[in-house]
């Protein structure tokens, strides 16, 4: 038996809350996963184990679904998640410069999580606010019409 840690308890608790909300049905799997992902920030293995038992779904199927959707993460992420839109409408109005600035500011060469686990940088497809490109999201906040000068200011708002 794995050692019961605070994280494990939180992972199991999140599953119970999600299933209580949506019901223990296979077709509610995506809303359930979404709920846990929002609650904890990612989908811990312990959560997937618990869902597998409660929903009577093989874990392989759970992982195949969890790894398919962009908003779900099976890896632990940083405290704040930056989603940068890399689609064409943002790209042609200056997205190239913004992503470079972001990477420089965060000291990242490619996308991923910074060593202090404060930031995770993810590339994403369209966020649906194309009229104000370039666009990126920090957690739930959308920033549009971003200029390179604004990037450090925006990042400094998050502690």
């Amino acid at each position: 038996m794995p050692v019961e840690t605070k994280e494990t308890q939180a992972a199991v608790q999140a599953v119970k809350m999600a299933i209580e909300k949506y019901g223990p049905n296979r077709e509610e799997l995506i809303p359930i996963l979404n709920h846990i992902n929002q609650d904890i920030g990612y989908l811990p293995q312990e959560s997937l184990d618990e869902i597998s038992v409660l929903l009577k779904v093989p874990k392989s199927q759970l992982i195949s679904v969890a790894s398919f959707y962009q908003m779900l993460s099976t890896k632990k992420r940083g405290k704040h998640v930056i989603k940068f839109c890399e689609s064409a409408p943002c790209h042609v109005v200056g997205g190239r410069e913004i992503i470079q600035t972001l990477k420089n500011e965060l000291n990242l060469v490619t996308c991923g999580t910074t060593s202090d686990e404060k930031w995770t940088l993810e590339m994403t497809s369209c966020l649906g606010v194309c009229a104000v490109g370039p666009v990126f999201m920090v957690d739930d906040d959308i920033y549009g019409n971003v200029t390179t000068e604004q990037v450090p200011q925006i990042l400094s708002r998050y502690s």
Binding site: F68, Y69, M71, C126, A131, D141
Partner: protein, 545 residues
């Protein structure tokens, strides 16, 4: 009943909310109260007002004075000046020259700007999307009443077929015909599904309808369910559209309470139940069979077709899948008749189309105009020309899965058939306008990269072909491509089109095909001269793949 002399509307689309619209609204209520004006002035939150450069915006009717961006601290001054003293609050007005959207339409009556023709966005930005009363006051649920009390399913299909409405999701399939297929399929249980998984880059028209006029979608889906014989429906909405989801939830609850959804609608024996299913971030789920898989709680991998969803859809039952904009056209058609609808647009593509205008132009945003207007008109009239006096080089239409249109084709009427003849795709209505600083190789790279990221990985042509194309394009952008590569790109594009399982794979090769068709010399310059004419590509001379 008390008479209201002024109506104050606050924009509350996602961007406005982000910029503090809620606070402005609360302050407005407080200020109006403290000036003792609440009997004379109404204030409501509406959705997108049609401008994104100065949110949050406030409009005061009947003068149609537009203020923006309004900060919470400006509200006291605005109320005192405009509503109490009756003069324009100096310094707060939004810059007039860049008007788009609803405001453009309103001021067009004064002969200042070209008119839009709003059918599906008629109420967006005018009514309070969280108020069912507002919707009903603007002819809401009238079409549903007519259908349930005096029309048969055949009557509805006949009207739709006569109207010539075609699907607005991209393919342009005749809506009446699709409804007829589902209605004729026998079965004890059928479903109606609304595709609101608007993930096409550059497209946000459905978000505006969902955020600004959610009841119109519910009304249209109920009509659809009655027509095809379904009693359950799903709205598949993309996970990123949080505000739209909230608005829809509120609207569904209101409709249930008033008996527009649920059992025995309008006192008939027709029942319809509607659910919202939020996606979790996957472009491919906009493909109708992938969407159905996703509702069933699986990976969003497209099914092999046929059988089509019209016979074997959700949980293997006959299913009608329609786009938000398509459905939003239905109630106005029922209310005003097929002939009215045919008075807009072209004979083969009647009605209007919502375009989202993006890129290197002066005014970005969205317009709803009759089908058949040209790209040149859109750029010069609605987008107010190219930004910083740039030159129009190309437009990328219909999001990633659309086509690239060179400036030489900008006078083609934008409707389904004219576009088909020229070999381009109207797609979802996104118009990404690019100036001469855009490199076609770089653009194709971004577009193909999108397909590589968003492909589901189920079928080989798409999974392998997409990656191969991206590698070759990357090499060309680094200055190490060969002329032979161009033949490979064409071959890959054809293979993708012919062999892929779904629409995503079939269009994944379009960018490379289009740039070689219209801008071959520019691509060859990368290879033969080792120069990127637009100065965008890195041209490092290093082979990446």
């Amino acid at each position: 009943m008390n008479t209201i002399r002024s109506m104050v509307l606050v924009s509350s689309d996602a961007m406005s909310m982000d910029a503090g619209a809620q606070e402005v609204f609360t302050r407005l209520q407080n200020e109006i109260h403290s000036f003792n004006l609440e009997k004379e002035v109404s204030v409501s939150m509406v959705s997108d007002i049609g401008r994104h450069d100065s949110v949050p915006m406030v409009i005061v009717y009947p003068e149609a004075t537009l203020y923006g961006p309004v900060r919470p601290d400006d509200v006291h001054f605005l109320v005192e000046e405009h509503l109490y003293k009756g003069r324009i609050a100096a310094g707060l007005q939004a810059p007039v020259k860049e008007l788009t959207g609803k405001i453009a339409w309103l001021s067009s009556r004064k002969g200042t700007l070209p008119a839009e023709q709003r059918i599906v966005l008629e109420r967006a930005g005018v009514i309070d999307p969280t108020s069912l009363d507002d919707y009903i006051l603007h002819d809401g649920y009238q079409a549903l009443g007519t259908v349930l009390t005096s029309m048969s399913a055949q009557d509805v299909i006949a009207v739709l077929e006569k109207s010539g409405l075609r699907g607005r999701g991209g393919a342009g399939f005749p809506t009446g015909t699709k409804w007829k297929f589902v209605s004729r399929t026998a079965g004890p249980k059928k479903y109606v599904v609304c595709n609101a998984d608007e993930s096409e880059p550059g497209t946000f028209k459905d978000r505006l309808i969902l955020e600004g006029d959610p009841h119109s979608l519910i009304e249209a889906m109920t009509i659809a369910a009655y027509t095809v014989g379904a009693d359950e429906g799903y709205i598949y909405i993309r996970g990123e559209y949080v505000l739209a989801q909230e608005r829809l939830k509120t609207a569904i609850a209101q409709a249930k309470e008033m008996g527009f959804l649920g059992k025995g609608i309008f006192g008939t024996n027709f029942n319809f139940d509607l659910h919202i299913h939020a996606g979790a971030g996957a472009y491919i789920c906009g493909e109708e069979t992938a969407l159905i898989e996703s509702i069933e709680g699986k990976r969003g991998e497209p099914r092999a077709r046929p059988p089509y969803p019209t016979t074997n859809g959700l949980w293997d039952r006959p299913t009608l899948v329609n786009n938000v904009e398509t459905l939003a056209n239905v109630p106005p058609i029922i209310r005003n008749g097929a002939d009215w609808f045919r008075s807009f647009g072209t004979p083969s593509s009647p009605g209007t189309k919502v375009y989202t205008i993006l890129g290197n132009v002066n005014v970005t945003g969205l317009v709803e105009v009759p089908m058949g207007i040209t790209l040149r008109e859109v750029i010069s009239i609605y987008a107010k020309g190219m930004k910083n006096g740039g030159t129009f080089k190309l437009a990328q239409t219909g999001g990633s899965s659309g086509s690239i249109i060179p400036s030489t084709l900008q006078d083609t009427p934008m409707d389904f058939d004219s576009f088909n003849k020229t070999g381009v795709s109207l797609g979802s209505g996104a118009l990404l306008i690019c100036n001469e600083e855009t490199c076609v190789v770089d653009l194709a790279k971004v577009l193909v990269n999108f397909f590589v990221n968003e492909g589901c990985g189920k079928c080989n042509p798409c999974r392998i072909g997409g990656n191969r194309s991206l590698n070759i394009l990357t090499n060309i952008s680094e200055g190490v491509g060969t002329l032979d590569d161009l033949n490979t790109l064409i071959e890959l594009s054809e293979n993708l089109y012919q062999l892929s399982n779904c629409g995503l794979g079939q269009t994944a090769g379009v960018p490379q095909r289009d740039i070689l068709k219209y801008f071959r010399s520019e691509v060859e310059a990368h290879i033969q001269l080792k120069v990127c004419p637009a100065g965008v590509c890195a041209m490092s001379g290093q082979r990446v793949y």
